[in-house]
């Protein structure tokens, strides 16, 4: 593999990692507050559709993104209602949300656009354009670093930079603010938080709302930046890969960045090469597809360090009387 090919693979790694990263951080906020969320996939899908649909109709990618975020946050509110207010099973609620999104997006897309469950292609202002960072053109001649800067760091769309900035922001919020401390506490020991006179329900709703916001951006990125429009089931399991990345990262922001880059890299490789020859054996493309899931199972099995979820995760909080 020569330098330029390597750069291209890494470049596509960055682009493919972005939705994973946003969804993974979304799940991190929710699960750190004690609300399991396997509905990341559904929220992204819903946001992808509404952002593409509204961007197409209005011609503005920003309005599209707002619509996507709103739809994703609506599903988050539903998840909160089921799992916080009515103390239902969070996993079942997540499953329901995934199916709701899978069905509703196609149903509405067919009703609005009659194109077999997709939106028309987005052009011009209805999409996020790649940004060229300062001096990217000028420095292109500099050996190694020039192309590195031009290909890898410059030339991405706005949500990509946003997603990567979200990592330090998440770290800061979780570990350096009062809200973050409380959020983590509510996922470990909600009774203690309640005793301190802080609303468990309020905190958990806040976490679920942040989760919806980030999933909304992830979905909007899929439909208006990575691709040009919505197609049926376009999230293609990314929500679950993000969930896998979250476990891989053991619910920590910087590790989430690493695991999302790794899984994005695997996707980029699988996209570019069909089968990979490593000396005597050939890795089939299906193996590359399954690798994130296999790695997650290995991590979950505790063979490579133990992945321990937040202590109160999945448990609805019932106030003592």
């Amino acid at each position: 593999m020569d330098f330029i090919t390597a750069l291209q693979v890494l470049d596509s790694t960055v682009r493919l990692s972005t939705p994973l990263l946003l969804a993974c951080l979304a799940g991190l906020f929710s699960e750190r507050a004690g609300i399991f969320d396997i509905g990341l996939e559904g929220k992204m899908l819903m946001a992808a559709f509404f952002s593409a649909a509204v961007a197409f109709v209005t011609g503005s990618v920003w309005l599209g993104m707002l619509a996507g975020i709103a739809s994703s946050m609506l599903l988050s509110a539903l998840h909160g209602l089921a799992s916080i207010t009515f103390r239902g099973n969070q996993l079942i609620s997540g499953v329901a949300i995934n199916f709701l999104a899978a069905g509703m997006t196609v149903l509405i897309a067919q009703d609005w656009f009659s194109q077999g469950g997709r939106t028309p292609s987005l052009i011009g202002q209805a999409r996020f354009e790649p940004l060229t960072l300062p001096f990217a053109e000028a420095l292109q001649g500099v050996p190694i670093l020039g192309p590195l800067y031009y290909e890898l760091i410059s030339g991405h769309t706005l949500p990509v930079y946003f997603a990567f900035l979200c990592v330090p922001a998440t770290w800061w919020i979780l570990y350096r603010t009062r809200f973050g401390l409380r959020l983590r506490a509510v996922g470990e020991n909600p009774a203690a938080v309640d005793t301190a006179g802080i609303s468990v329900i309020g905190l958990r709703y806040a976490a679920v709302a942040i989760c919806g916001l980030l999933c909304g951006i992830a979905g909007a990125y899929l439909a208006t930046a990575l691709q040009a429009g919505f197609i049926k089931d376009m999230t293609a399991g990314r929500g679950y890969i993000a969930l896998a990345a979250l476990i891989f990262a053991k619910w920590r922001p910087w590790y989430a960045l690493m695991s999302c880059l790794l899984f994005g890299f695997l996707q980029a490789i699988a996209l570019r090469y069909q089968n990979i020859d490593i000396g005597p054996i050939t890795l089939p493309v299906q193996f590359m597809d399954a690798l994130p899931y296999i790695l997650t199972v290995v991590i979950l099995a505790g063979f490579v360090g133990r992945a321990i979820p937040p202590h109160a995760g999945g448990e609805p909080y019932v106030k003592e009387r």
Binding site: L81, F86, G117, Q286, D289, Y293, I294, L300
Partner: protein, 364 residues
């Protein structure tokens, strides 16, 4: 006693949830500019108006009975098996290997052999998540989700690279030999003098599914193992104190669950397609979740819910054929059923409970 009467718990709560899901589904149909009454009429006519419709309804219901029972058995041990989809895919592989490579003289022998193959492969695919849950504490929901994806990749590899006949384009095995073809309801009912549609895919597997309902009922409520599974599901600490091994119950319950999900492949792979295709499961593993929730994890409830979903599936196909309503409407209905009977259960239960308590106080 601050509880509802059992009939309200078993019938009234799911019924109200179902009505809520139906109302929302009707609103969705109105929302996309169609008439819900006309839609339901068309669905009833398409799914129940002819033996052809019934043949498809029962064919789908057979799938959902198996996957619903699979989820239900795991629920009794308080485990959420989302892996029915992957386990059924592997079950299909088991059926295909038996049918393609064993010399089978008659369909009865083939059915038994294929059932063993399907159950063994499905159970094997549930075994790893079960052991990881029991011994290492890895959450079974996450591992079974991961195993669904791994199963899809594995099946894709096996079909494309290993089992595909030379020169064939689509990723599928060769047609199964003649001796393994199962009798359809048409073949079975003709000697009795009942005319049943020849084109519909419902077959003898339906009887196996009914037997499975009975077997699960016997297992859960009439055997020692079933008692242990329920005890474990109610309280792990109490079960442990009573000398029930959590590891054993977790693994055994998941093996049964995976085996049941695997059996679904008899219907799709052996009964209908007569070869193994890539997407033979078509989401039936996930519908099992809705079926088990609606049926309150009771075999009789699962049976009724499976027939309802069979009706929705066939009716939905008819809708997609004759109107502008896409098949995905069924996915929405499925989501609403899961939401109301599963996640939002307390929304219905809490006010009802209050109502019953208030009434009892007045009487007492």
């Amino acid at each position: 006693m601050d509880r509802m009467p059992p009939w309200a718990d078993a019938l009234l709560v799911p019924l109200i949830s179902l009505v809520l899901a139906a109302i929302l589904s009707a609103l969705v149909i109105i929302g996309i500019g169609e008439d819900p009454v006309a839609a339901v009429t068309l669905m009833v006519k398409g799914a129940l108006g002819s033996t052809y419709g019934w043949g498809y309804t029962l064919y789908y219901a057979t799938n959902f009975i198996f996957t619903g029972l699979a989820v239900a058995v795991a629920f009794h041990a308080r485990m959420f098996n989302i892996g029915g989809e992957g386990q059924a895919m592997l079950g299909g592989l088991g059926v295909a290997l038996v049918c393609l490579y064993l010399p089978l003289p008659h369909w009865t022998v083939a059915l038994v052999a294929a059932a063993l193959g399907a159950a063994a492969f499905g159970a094997a695919w549930a075994y790893v998540p079960a052991v990881l849950q029991a011994r290492r504490g890895s959450h079974i929901v996450i591992t079974t989700i991961m195993f669904n994806f791994i199963a899809a990749a594995l099946l894709n590899y096996v079909l494309v690279n290993l089992l595909r006949p030379k020169g064939a384009m689509d990723p599928a095995t060769a047609k199964f030999p003649e001796g393994t073809h199962l009798p359809t309801l048409h073949d079975m009912l003709a000697p009795v003098g009942i005319e049943f549609s020849k084109a519909a895919p419902a077959n003898v597997t339906l009887l196996i599914a009914l037997l499975a309902c009975l077997a699960v009922w016997l297992l859960i409520w009439r055997t020692r193992l079933g008692y242990e599974i329920r005890a474990f599901g109610h309280s792990e600490t109490a079960a442990r104190y009573a000398g029930i091994s959590p590891v054993r119950i977790t693994v055994v319950a998941m093996l049964i669950s995976g085996g049941l999900a695997g059996l679904m492949a008899l219907n799709t792979t052996m009964g209908e397609a007569e070869r193994l295709v890539l997407n033979s499961v078509e989401g039936a593993g996930f519908i099992g979740i809705a079926v088990a929730l609606m049926g309150r994890s009771h075999p009789l409830g699962v049976l009724m819910a499976a027939i309802l979903f069979g009706f929705l599936y066939q009716g939905g196909a008819e809708l997609a054929l004759w109107t502008n309503i896409p098949r995905e409407l069924i996915v929405v209905i499925q989501a609403l059923v899961i939401l109301f009977t599963g996640a939002l259960d307390n929304m219905v239960r809490m006010p009802l409970e209050r109502l019953f308590l208030a009434r009892r106080k007045k009487e007492g």
